[in-house]
Subunit: 419 residues, 3 copies
């Protein structure tokens, strides 16, 4: 009953988190931690929010919501992506209401204050004497693009290691030509669970028997060390090893980087990247593993490239195949509600109906997302019980532990700084 | 994280509010300020809640909700309007559930406790020994009527200057005969914004290009000083001046008061009253400016009377034309939700279908209200962003500043008293 | 504005509650009291949650929700009812999502952790070295069955007087053979009021003129002392006395206990039990008082047994007739929302359509529940007004006072213990 102790309790819970176990309940269910997560994670780190393909032309914009922030991403006349707070400098009105669109200038519909796509205030009617428009530009937000992926950072001083990470992942991503792709479709799924449960769910395949569609084309050995492969997955593992040997030859002949880099909790901008084969036809996330889009993303001599997978802390994962790419962005909406935005990208010139069919393209991951949403909702309800006790992660869940460890490290750093 | 400091922060925000700028975010988005507004403004001041026309006969009642209060307005046998808390003195049950109706006695449906329309407890079955019914009358609420408008005050000691204000505005309103009018229709619009954003929106016409229907019959020069009229409104302003000169002659010949009184932030019961012309036919708020009701509100020799407009702090504005009147009452529902109740009144003997048509009568203000609700919702979302900074009011928004100044003065007085 | 004082205010409100009056508003409307009620009442006392008839066979289960707790009731292989927290010991996932069902083992669908119906962890894939399954059984919950009624207690040390109460009520209930009955139907009604208003409503018949269906078959003199019977109920009371004299003869000839025991607020597990006649045909809660089910619950020589009524603190009441039984369980969902679960039970071999018809069986209490929900919602809205003052209970509401007195005693004991 005494909220004054809350801050102390938060610090205590963070500093005493036992390694190798799921988090204690307050991390998933308390309002206090929701605010802390927004403050210490989502407004301090680089957050994956969109793809460049959503803004193909100058004047094209997307608006993204992050907590109570709304941010405009807009392609300027130099074809660069810029980011501004979606807040009029007059009386604070949200300026752009749509998620995507195209503008000449950015005009607030309330009192017609008019800004350029560079954020400068161009026109105001009825000004007070001495009014200086140069003091009322839209407030800018840090933005970076990496091979077609758009990241923003709401902090005044973004984490410094992002450039290094960008330099290391760009050679893996660039061959897939994402900056010139187009959005085939995008889905928003609201999951009834804390955002960390959504991320934990993504970081292990211990639950993959619950994903029949995914299992058919994917080697569900993710997270297993060789010695821990359960008997039921033993033959799958052998098939994987053979496919992997073949794939490496292809990657080398095409000059595609494939070495696994795993720095999930050893740096501020934690990430994991890896190129590896898919099962069956080995081309794409489809029922039979064949490409879902005839027009490949780039001028690849074969579609059999498996998947290049990128996991970034705190909120994203992406898969790049020969024929299409899928990006996933996780945004907390409330302590127990999370937005999962999934974007399917194909070559800009691919024609729906001729080169690809949306159902085939999206079937595996739409089903997988829906199944995961059920797991996450059940997890949220379970950890909300006062009878919940943190339990042990199994060895195959080591990337869950890495995510949680990264998260706890971030919280510690933030709380330390707050003192 | 430390709510103990909240009270101090509130006092700080109130005492340091910079003149000429929109309020800081907490005033619009914090729970704390919502409660403070109810406490310091809505349960302390005279609030416009209804029109006498809603209670034509003895026994007719209306219930009004204000925060968690529910108040019964009822016309008693002497034809006076009385106000009581809508709470049974037995176990606290809300007695009347409908918004409007007619009763002989006021009977609680739960255990049949029965009160007269004067609030006295008349009948109880199964009484404890020594039970004294005179101790269990309905609790009364201060109520005042002014030329057909009904105001309540939930404070024990209502602001003392209301009588003086009533005396000054009554001569303006009385000719429109509102006490004998009838309600043609009433709409409840729930706006997704703080009540102060709804009021601010009403106090300026800087945004009126967003109101095409209103603009057609209304001179959108409200709030502009002559020297600030923008070029685009210059010809409108000249037309206004001509219409105003003509109108004054009419007002004088009919003995209708028209001098502007503007005491919006210089007294406890702040108000502004003004009679001025309308555009086009100049008779009413309709597409072509002609009267919407053939039967005028009173025995006026002409319908070309423009509008008598009354603005009262904290929650109302009204327009009185020759043919009809419109009242607007603003009631906070939550920090980000507000009820706007709009009532159209015509002569009690006017016949729908013959004398007036509801669509014609309501078209301009229904459209205007809907447009304003969009502006208010966008403003609420915008000021909710941590990136929002208060911005400067333009000269044409001086009545917004007057409203905010009145509001801050009220809060200061309340916080001072609380010490 | 200072939540630090809340705990002190709670203690003050509890310790100073005036006898004979309804509670002060915070008990019904504050979040603080909602949490206190869950903590001091619902997770500390024996709570009626289900009937054995809902779990006829080994492996049959029901899940019950109590605040943020979810509990599995399951019949084990020895045909005993067991209770476990519905929380996986791995990462806390809610295991069973349905309200009723049947299982071999209890399997968490997320990562396939598998428990027996005795709660033991039987199987886990991918274990960490040194993982000891015996440390990860489902956490058990105290459970007791009394003549077919299922009670749980979430406290580590349940109230000790339950055994004594069970011993005293079992002889009354046993003849109705509930353990061998079946559920004819079950309804969940969410009432828009605090759970205590739902209970208070049940503990008096002062409001029974609001229940026309119930009044027809029921003697609405519940709660009246002979000297307080109002004139309007005088002839009913005489009819009741005659029926009661007849009924006692029947009860004695059949060896059915009927003496009233009223220990509602004089012990931890407060209760009231009484067997008395019904009006009209005197057999059941139906429009004409005749049995709703031809197949009686037991081998009674007559259906004219009136009703055996059991009231238990804090959350239940039940009626047992010759032909059917009805149980009511009240579970708080929020400070102003309460679940009322009503279960109609008939002999396990009774056939719907032949022996009974659901509409006839449920008509009286479905109507009564709906009417009560309206009263409760009005009461909640009324006590939410700052103008609400606690009012006096009438003599006929003495069991409401007993409920409130029991409740306040519990809160005092809990707060004392917390010091």
């Amino acid at each position: 009953m005494n909220p004054v102790t809350a801050a102390a309790q938060v610090t205590e819970l963070v500093s005493r988190r036992p390694v190798g176990q799921s988090l204690q309940a307050p991390f998933y269910v308390d309002e206090e931690f929701h605010h802390l997560d927004i403050e210490a994670v989502f407004t301090r780190h680089w957050i994956f929010v969109a793809t460049e393909a959503e803004l193909p032309e100058p004047g094209d914009y997307a608006t993204v919501t992050l907590g109570t922030y709304s941010v405009i991403l807009v392609r300027d006349d130099d074809e660069d992506v810029r980011a501004f707070h979606n807040v009029c400098r007059h009386r604070g009105t949200r300026i752009l209401g749509e998620e995507h669109g195209s503008v000449g200038n950015i005009v607030c519909g309330y009192h017609r204050w008019t800004y350029g796509v560079d954020g400068k205030l161009l026109h105001v009617e009825s000004q007070a004497p001495g009014f200086d428009p140069t003091c009322f530009s839209l407030r800018s937000v840090h933005v970076r693009t990496v091979a077609g992926l758009v990241f923003i950072c709401l902090a005044e001083e973004p984490p410094e290691d992002f450039d290094e990470v960008a330099t290391r992942i760009e050679p893996y991503l660039a061959p897939h030509n994402l900056a010139k792709a187009k959005v085939a479709t995008q889905t928003d799924l609201i999951e009834n669970g804390n955002w960390k449960l959504v991320m934990e769910n993504n970081r292990e395949c211990y639950h993959c028997t619950g994903h029949p569609e995914l299992q058919s084309c994917y080697f569900p050995i993710y997270g297993y060390q060789e010695q821990d492969i359960p008997p039921v997955l033993r033959s799958t593992y052998e098939r994987y090893q053979q496919a992997d040997a073949e794939a490496r030859k292809t990657y080398e002949s095409l000059g595609l980087p494939y070495a696994e880099i795993e720095e999930l909790d050893t740096r501020t901008t934690g990430f994991h990247i890896h190129r590896e084969p898919l099962d069956l036809a080995g081309e794409s996330y489809t029922s039979d593993g064949t490409a879902a889009c005839k027009r490949l993303l780039a001028d690849f001599p074969t579609a059999r490239l498996g998947r290049l997978s990128l996991h970034m802390q705190p909120n994203s994962w992406c898969h790049f195949m020969a024929d299409h790419a899928i990006t996933f962005s996780v945004i907390p909406l409330a302590r127990d509600r999370t937005l999962l935005r999934t974007t399917w990208l194909v070559h800009a010139d691919a024609v729906e109906g001729a080169d690809y069919d949306l159902d085939t393209l999206t079937k595996v991951w739409k089903a997988t997302n829906d199944q995961d949403a059920v797991f996450v909702a059940r997890a949220q309800r379970g950890v909300s019980s006062p009878a919940y006790l943190p339990g042990p992660y199994s060895p195959t869940e080591y990337q869950v532990e890495a995510f949680i460890n990264w998260y706890i490290t971030r919280l510690k750093a933030h709380l330390e700084q707050q003192r």
